[in-house]
Symmetry: D2
Subunit: 350 residues, 4 copies
């Protein structure tokens, strides 16, 4: 029976690694074969909790282990590219913590390498697998919101300052991936500003505007230096509007039957008659499933069926392209940077 | 005794005018002499509630009335300049609803006209007179927050779409005036984005970043198309941080003794050791006084003593200059616009 | 036209009187003829705001005024009986602030006097006229909640200590009247406890349990000595449950599609299999109408049509009977006190 | 080194048992030797997670194991007495999930048995070990609140209906133990009401008033049938008041500098002049330690030093006496039941 389970190797047992190990271990479709980390103390923890799992300070041991069919990478961002590339070249399917890599060029290489070898490459955009984001996506695709006007996200905490990426690569990456997932339109340009309050560290605060060809607009505010934790997103449409607060224990999504009505030009020149609609609010029940559990099982499923993951390499590429463009705009104090046609849309076009 | 009261004429009895009339009438230092509005039905309401007050559809009647020593203007923004100028030329002190006028050039004329005639010109930036903003200003000037890192404001509602100004002239104007009041540093550039979701109307949603010469940064998000009302501001400093929620009935300001500690470079190259401090939270008691009452009495006091109002014409000019620059940046999708040295700082420099 | 308006006299211009005057004055079916208060300073305020209204320190002047067809009483509770009786005897319809009088015997006299003279007697149980309570009543009577399990109300503030009534006559009176209005079953007994923390003052804190013949139960906690204001009510049913928070600006009522399922006895002896249902939450839109406006117009309507008011004298009698019984239980530290069959049900039975 | 660790046996691996095992295992002063449960599937889970721990379906195996020095019991309430007694007789120190046993007589036997054998008997009143309750106790004992006026607790959820105890033995037990811990005065009588909405199950909703000799009063509302989870406690004093919300992620305790002032009799007969004080609110920072970790280490410490635990058998006895009295009052619809002098106070008196 054990033979039917996909064998997983996990590289990195710091902040996120333990969650990956726990979920791959709990899953009925996978088993954890080996874990590597540079810190022997962390490996001891693994051995105590998961006596059957091999541990090693040398990630190459995982890659050489034939029982390891897929590798999950949860190391600092700057090491993603080399580790993922080595894993693909060793013939392993690869699951990488977000963001996929430090540059879009790196990501492109990884995507090509995976395609060439017919291996599954998936990036861990966990939020896409939450019942809340799944519900928002469904409400939008069912047309419940009408025309989409905006996405407004705020993500703030007294956060974990990171040294190799700034706050947008750490926090805005979630919103960029959500926006890409729930909207069927891709942004065409980005303007962003950011600031750094501790000399020698990356930006700890940033504000990003994504422009779309339609009148839709997205704005994301991220902050590592907030006294209180905030995870709040507004999605506005012509028919309904959503407030999504990820910190709410149960009612994470509230759908408001509110909006405006436009009655055409009034008699007063240059003035439209705008009316307001105020209706019921509705908080759909959401399942209490852990997103990461759903996600790791989706990864195994994609390996087995060769299906394209929801958070595929191509998806992760687009996210990194947006982050790169936003970084360039931040460096230029908000000057807008155009975004090329996203790969998936290019593909559709060709 | 009545003779000691400053006689006030109010032009405009729409949304805000009734509040002005009520506060000038309730004040022990002023009395309302006359009210003008183009709509006779509104004047009837005035007569019913304030039988002793003259009413007229012709604002020039107020200007010619010698009992009217000061004029308060609460009309649509596009009429502010002409009305205020006429009032100053008629020798009246002038109080104008925010923003002072549609362009900085207009405001400059008004400021000059008032100075030439030794008349008090004041703009109604009501928030500056709230106990909450007064308290924040005091905490900052007392050094309680340490170095100021940022101001982050969100102001959203299912709002009153206006036809002659966009959302930043309606909502962000509050934040711009607050930032100017509580910080002793002026912004040097602005990057802003905005969008419009109803063809033929001004922008109903905008995001503004104000850059300062120091590492301080301010960001303001405003939205007329939000399903719920939000009035929330974060002010972060190196020692303490404030969350100011104007919709809280009593605890509007929460001061967090939270922050980061920088321990100098760690052994790991390119990495600072950042620590986190988490201490008590404290909500100072705020008086329950109505800001507009404080403000109208400050106006009368400035008339009597020739003192410069907190929200003087020069103050209102700076706010309009920032709004103009932000509007230019919005039109260019976020391209930063430099702000000249603010007048008050120029004055100090000379 | 003025002749078609019911002429109102208001006795008492303290805390609540100004609200009565404002609403009777704003109504299109009534006009305020005269206001009496023992304090001439308060009458001056009336004259300034309502120049056409007569004022007097002598309430008998109102009763003798033929233009006064109905009298509204907003004086301390101990004076309600004498004033209402005098007004009825003078042939006036009567509207009395809650509670109707200090004893059920007094209320019974008033009800009889009003019936004998075919006059409308109404008690000001304002909450019955709020859109929130109207909605809860409708949800219950439509069967949306299923079998009613409980009513749990908390009403607390740093309150206005009163000298002639204790906290249940001031605050619990609201819940008692709401329970009577929304449930079609009357309580059969009451157990209550209360306490007093300031020597020489009435109880400032109390907890009341109302027993019903069915398994329904109601509990009301009231407190004049709470650091924060609370106005929260839970209504639980077999199908749905309501949380009603009167301090919420817009979403005052939340309806939860939650509950338990009983699957019959399990194999384990003495144990039922209880399951849990968790569904959507829904906040119905409520009109923003002022309850007191609705109520005064209902009063005028009842005068004109001789209809029985929603908060009739008989209704107010039942409320006072429950308050009396609760007071007796408080004096005996919770010993339950039986409640006689309520008058309206007696009437139905005969 | 392992020899210095106290060896623990855990009986029961249902809802709470896994938490006990985890905390005894993580502690640096104890190790888990053996776990028993009637369900082999649960024991398999133990073996997978804690490979070194013995498992057995027969609790007597634990009692006979000389490595087991102390036994922790986390089984249904009706089995507490027999299991605890057997463990004490086997010479083991005993830690029992709350409530200690089903009757005060049983608890008295256990306390006597433990005393006779010089064994530590401790009941798991986890809340006493939370930083929040520790802080409240300290604020009260430091006199920060002034005279204590009241404790008002609400504990509600769509809860786990239990078959062998009613809601007060499941939920109110927490408040009773907290009240006993933070107040230096013991209640003298109790009045309680309760109700059952599912035929054949114990009461699922109850309201308890505890009377004290002073003017202090405590009230506890518990409910297994609430649509939302509530864990809220108010503690009022003459100088300050506390709101303790256990569901708040960080600011669990808010201390309000609010209250009343009594100015002595006013000129109006029978009326005191009551004034109101409104000052700052303050939320003290609380450590993020897990209460159960603190508690299991306290248990081990008491075993080693023969100190009396904070939640000793005598403490647990008093809690059960109050629960018994409350149950008797519930059966009599609120008739007050006197409480004997608590054991600890008797001891002090002798």
């Amino acid at each position: 029976m054990q033979d039917n389970l996909i064998g997983i190797g996990v590289i990195g047992y710091g902040y996120w690694g333990p969650n990956l190990v726990r979920n791959f271990a709990n899953s009925k479709v996978s088993r954890v074969v080996s874990v590597s980390d540079l810190d022997p103390a962390k490996l001891e923890t693994v051995s105590r909790q998961y006596p059957g799992v091999e541990v090693t300070t040398e990630f190459r041991d995982l890659l050489m282990n034939p029982e390891v069919e897929a590798v999950a990478i949860a190391t600092p961002v700057h090491s993603h590219y080399n580790l993922a590339l080595a894993a693909l070249r060793a013939g392993k399917h690869v699951f990488v913590e977000k963001p996929l890599a430090q540059t879009s060029e790196q990501v492109r290489h990884l995507v090509e390498e995976a395609e060439r070898r017919n291996l599954t490459l998936m990036v861990d955009h966990t939020f896409l697998y939450t019942p809340a984001v799944q519900k928002i996506r469904k409400l939008i695709s069912d047309g419940a919101l009408g025309d989409i006007y905006y996405y407004n996200g705020v993500r703030a905490s007294l956060g974990l300052f990171q040294c190799d990426v700034n706050v947008i690569w750490d926090l805005a990456v979630h919103d960029i991936s959500i926006i890409q997932y729930i909207f069927d339109e891709a942004p065409v340009a980005v303007s962003a500003t950011g600031s750094c309050h501790v000399a020698g560290t990356p930006e700890n605060m940033a504000h990003i505007t994504l422009f779309f060809a339609s009148s839709c607009v997205a704005h994301v505010s991220v902050n590592w230096l907030s006294p209180v934790k905030v995870r709040q997103t507004f999605v506005g449409g012509s028919q309904k509007m959503i407030v999504y607060d990820d910190l709410e224990p149960t009612e994470k999504i509230k759908v408001y039957d509110k909006g405006i009505t436009v009655d055409g030009p009034s008699e007063v020149a240059h003035q439209l008659r705008i009316g307001y609609r105020a209706g019921d609010m509705w908080a759909p029940h959401l399942a209490a499933t852990e997103a990461l559990q759903t996600e790791v099982e989706h990864f195994v499923d994609c390996i087995r069926t060769s299906a394209t993951p929801i958070s595929s390499g191509a998806t992760g590429l687009r996210v990194v392209e947006v982050l790169e463009a936003a970084s360039r705009s931040i460096a230029a104090q908000g000057i807008p940077v155009r975004l090329g046609l996203p790969q998936r849309i290019t593909e559709l076009a060709s």
